[in-house]
């Protein structure tokens, strides 16, 4: 635990602390997060050229939480397929918003983009079949966006092999 290390100055005893909704330990004048969930949010150009970047982030987060190699590979492929399916249907969007949450028991990914069309991903495609086979749950939402247009969102959760679905 980083908070338990002695640093320059006066060391203080770690004290359990909660800030900004996350668990942490207060020591040496600051709060060190001990939350077992890693969170990353990315906003990037809505282009298939960015799929490798999404795979990289998803794989790295799952690896840091010690998920098995199949789970890591499945999460990478799932984020690739979910993003590709979303990019295939959004109209007039230039930004893709991606949120990743990786804990010891589950990896959750949310991909969202604005679209002029109220259309969700094609759920009969090969890619969608693959996505739904790789993860525990997939949710699609198409909602009206403030200022016009729509927000198209794809979310999925993947638990490690052999564990209960969330």
């Amino acid at each position: 635990m980083r908070g338990g290390e002695a640093r320059q100055g006066t060391a203080t005893e770690p004290v359990a602390h909660r800030t900004n909704g996350h668990d942490g330990v207060r020591a040496n004048g600051r709060t060190w997060r001990t939350d077992p969930v890693s969170r990353v949010e990315l906003r990037l150009d809505a282009a298939v050229e960015n799929l490798p970047l999404l795979r990289l982030v998803a794989g790295d987060l799952a690896m840091r939480r010690d998920h098995d190699i199949d789970t890591i590979s499945d999460v990478q492929m799932a984020v690739d397929e979910a993003a590709a399916a979303l990019l295939d249907v959004i109209v007039g969007a230039d930004t893709l918003c991606c949120r990743f949450e990786a804990g010891p028991d589950v990896v959750r990914v949310s991909l969202e983009a604005w679209s002029a069309a109220a259309v969700g991903p094609d759920q009969n495609s090969l890619g969608w079949r693959l996505l739904t086979a790789l993860v525990d749950s997939v949710r699609v939402s198409v909602t009206a966006a403030a200022g016009g247009g729509h927000r198209v969102c794809v979310e999925f959760a993947r638990t490690p092999a052999g564990s209960e679905a969330p």
Binding site: V48, L51, P52, D70, M77, E81, A84, L126, R129, L130
Partner: protein, 92 residues
Amino acid sequence: MLHGEIDHASVGELDTHVKKVLEAGVTEVVVSFGSVTFFDSACLAALVRAREAVVERGGRVVLSDVNRYALRILELTGLDAVFTIEGQVRAS
């Protein structure tokens, strides 16, 4: 032999290469996965397109050097029953 990552962004190169192979009159196409580090449904769809074109000419497409994870993906999509898979399945 396929190399590196074949995804929605790069699959055009695979389509182009398959087209050249078909134009050369090749009917026995062996696709090695030995150097593939990632592939997605775009790659699989390209291989299905290639297979359809080759079979139409009386040939076949064979997948070789498939690793354990790639085989799992082929099984999940049912494509293990569509393609001829040859050679030993690699551990990783």
